[in-house]
């Protein structure tokens, strides 16, 4: 258990270092970073001043050392647009992003898994048909279209939910639903097929041959095995949701990190982009670590390295 977790931790650290390196390279191999950061009609003096300020004139290794020590201390330099340190700007947006992703994931889990379970235990039933329809919708309807339709009908016509911003308690409902729907569909499908598969396993027949009550068999023998694939999908998808809701945040004017990322790309605010990229990666890596932990708690084969 300890060894398994330690190896995962080391893996994550190596990956994090890789991300830092990639972000560092991206800014520097795509041309003259100073020219990229400033507008096209900047004077040579302005360019030179920026290079000096950002340290682009130093040897690459020195730059990298500065960059890494900065990153470790949470210092990604000043945002070019806001002229204030980049990381606090990112952290400011964090609660909105976490709220959106968590509510979206919660909706997906609370709706998707029960429907998938019922579908798996009673294939062909009404709930199963609803579930399969939901899975289809979730994976085929484009989220920007769904977002606009929800704004139009639930927001404007019916007035149930605010159409933009994050000012009222129910502002989160529509964007979170749009964000969560594909995952909901995926969870329905995955849960259903996992239940069907596990129910057909030999060890379930063994459980029946022991005379156990069906309820015991479902809870103890089926569900725990079904949880294994679900945990990994939920972990991966939650990472995506935390990192990549640029469209949805834009449509609903949600003040999260995705919106900030879109803006900072427009501004060519490299320090800010770097801070967002590294910070998001850090979240995803942490989440993967948590997923692995949950995984190893449920599945002893993982825990014992098999």
């Amino acid at each position: 258990m300890g060894r398994y977790f330690l190896s995962k931790l080391i893996q994550s650290l190596v990956l994090l270092f890789g991300v830092l390196f990639l972000v560092f390279m991206m800014v520097r191999v795509t041309g003259d970073p100073a020219a990229l950061m400033l507008s096209r009609n900047a004077s040579p003096e302005q360019l030179e001043a920026l290079r000096e300020e950002m340290g682009f004139n130093d040897p690459a290794l020195v730059q990298f050392k500065h960059y890494i020590t900065g990153a470790i201390l949470g210092d990604f330099g000043n945002s070019l647009h806001f002229k204030t340190p980049a990381l606090p700007l990112v952290l400011e947006r964090l609660p909105a992003t976490v709220q959106l992703a968590s509510v979206g994931m919660l909706m997906a889990i609370i709706i998707g898994i029960p429907i998938g379970l019922v579908g798996g235990f009673t294939p062909g039933s009404v709930v199963d048909s609803i579930g399969r329809f939901l899975a289809l919708i979730g994976q085929s309807v484009p989220n920007f279209w769904l977002g606009l339709m929800m704004i139009l009908f639930l927001g404007v016509r019916l007035g149930w939910f605010p159409t933009f911003g994050r000012d009222s308690w129910n502002s989160v409902v529509m964007p979170a639903f749009v964000l969560g729907l594909p995952v909901m569909g995926q969870l329905v499908r995955l849960t259903r097929s996992a239940v069907l598969e596990i129910r057909g396993e030999d060890f379930i027949r063994t459980a029946h041959s022991k005379g156990l009550e069906p309820r015991t068999i479902y809870l103890k023998h089926v569900l725990r095995n079904v949880a294994i694939p679900l945990v990994s999908v939920i972990g991966v998808q939650f990472g995506y949701m935390l990192g990549g809701s640029i469209y949805i945040e834009a449509i609903f004017a949600w003040p999260g990190m995705g919106g900030l990322l879109a803006q900072s790309i427009g501004w060519r605010d490299f320090p800010l982009i770097q801070a967002i990229a590294v910070f998001t990666s850090l979240i995803v890596l942490l989440l993967n670590l948590l997923t692995d932990l949950a995984y190893s708690i449920i599945d002893p084969r993982i825990r014992y390295g098999r």
Partner: protein
């Protein structure tokens, strides 16, 4: 000797998209207290479906038990297994009739400890507390020959070899001291030396517990060492029932003879080659109007293609379903 289980005219079918699979077509047999009955037949001859029908383990749908009865002398008295309510059946399953399946790799839940998987049977049927069940389980583990039972209680199936896993499955089957153990090809998935150990263990436990055993196998070779009587099945039907020695020395059905000739034997001369039965097992999607074995039989004559031979008495405690008299070398006169 009293009869503990009497099965009569069991018929089980599967209604699949390809058509109706006639898996079991009128199986009758009886099992005496403490006796070991071997059920032998090629793969697909309906051995497993017969046993699972008796215990309500057939997936329904597509499966359906069309007719038959199975009177079982249970702790509560005589009852027909096929007429029990699901609750009553669950009390018998695992409690009074234990089951050992073929593949020990897949028959244990991979994410529960083996101790848990044994003790849940005890808790279900014996009403033991968790702690009592634990103690009992540790005793069972040492009884089936698993070293360090206290330590192994907490182990998971993947930490066991195939043979050790089968011992765990056997421990589950005997946990509640059942009256019958049904062992469905319990050694088929194991290698030969382990096979012998498991058979040895089975015999020990059987004699110690006085339990009746139904030993299913497709290998007539292992039967002599363990069973008292043999039921040979073909195409979902019993084709011969006899004392184990009569099966080897005096088989009355050409199919049994074929199975025997396919066995390697110690007395046989080096040059004699093993003969497997020609042809393939019958297509169970087509209901039979004639002897199901006729197309593969060296002795088939016109009558075999006209009607299904019934199981008739051909000697003391010996029945066979064949129109041909192997001893006389001609059609049987009756």
């Amino acid at each position: 000797m009293s009869i503990i289980l009497q099965v009569k005219d069991l018929v089980t079918k599967f209604y699949t998209l390809d058509g109706v699979v006639n898996a079991v077509n009128g199986v009758s047999f009886e099992l005496n207290e403490g006796e070991t009955l071997a059920i032998v037949g090629e793969s697909g001859s309906g051995k497993s479906v017969t046993m699972m029908s008796l215990l309500g383990l057939i997936p329904m749908p597509p499966g359906k038990i069309e007719s038959g009865s199975a009177s079982f002398n249970s702790e509560e008295g005589l009852c027909d297994l096929l007429q029990l309510s699901p609750e009553e059946m669950r009390d018998i399953r695992g409690g009074q009739i234990g089951f050992v399946f073929q593949d020990p790799i897949s028959t244990l839940n991979p994410i529960l400890t083996i101790g848990e998987q044994i003790s849940e049977t005890l808790i279900r049927h014996k009403g033991l507390s968790k702690e009592q069940a634990r103690e009992q389980t540790i005793k069972l583990l040492s009884q089936v020959g698993i070293p360090d039972p206290e330590l192994r209680y907490k182990a998971y199936p993947f930490q066991f070899s195939g043979g050790m896993r089968q011992r765990v499955v056997i421990a589950i089957a005997i946990a509640c001291t059942p009256k019958i153990i049904i062992a469905d090809e319990p050694t088929t998935a194991l290698d030969v030396t382990v096979q012998a150990q498991i058979i040895e263990l089975f015999k020990e436990l059987r004699d110690a517990l006085g339990v009746a055993v139904i030993w299913i196998t497709h290998d007539l070779g292992v039967v002599a060492g363990i069973a008292e009587r043999v039921l040979v099945m073909y195409g979902g039907r019993p084709v011969e029932i006899a004392q184990v020695m009569d099966i080897y020395k005096d088989p009355k059905h050409p199919y049994t003879l074929g199975l025997l000739r396919a066995l390697p034997s110690l007395e046989a001369k080096e040059s004699k080659r093993l003969k497997s039965i020609k042809g393939t097992p019958p297509d169970l999607l087509i209901p039979f109007k004639h002897c199901p074995f006729a197309s593969r039989c060296d002795y088939a004559f016109d009558r075999c293609w006209e009607e299904i031979p019934p199981l008739i008495s051909v000697g003391e405690q010996h029945q066979a379903a064949c129109f041909f008299d192997l001893e006389e070398g001609g059609p049987r006169h009756d």
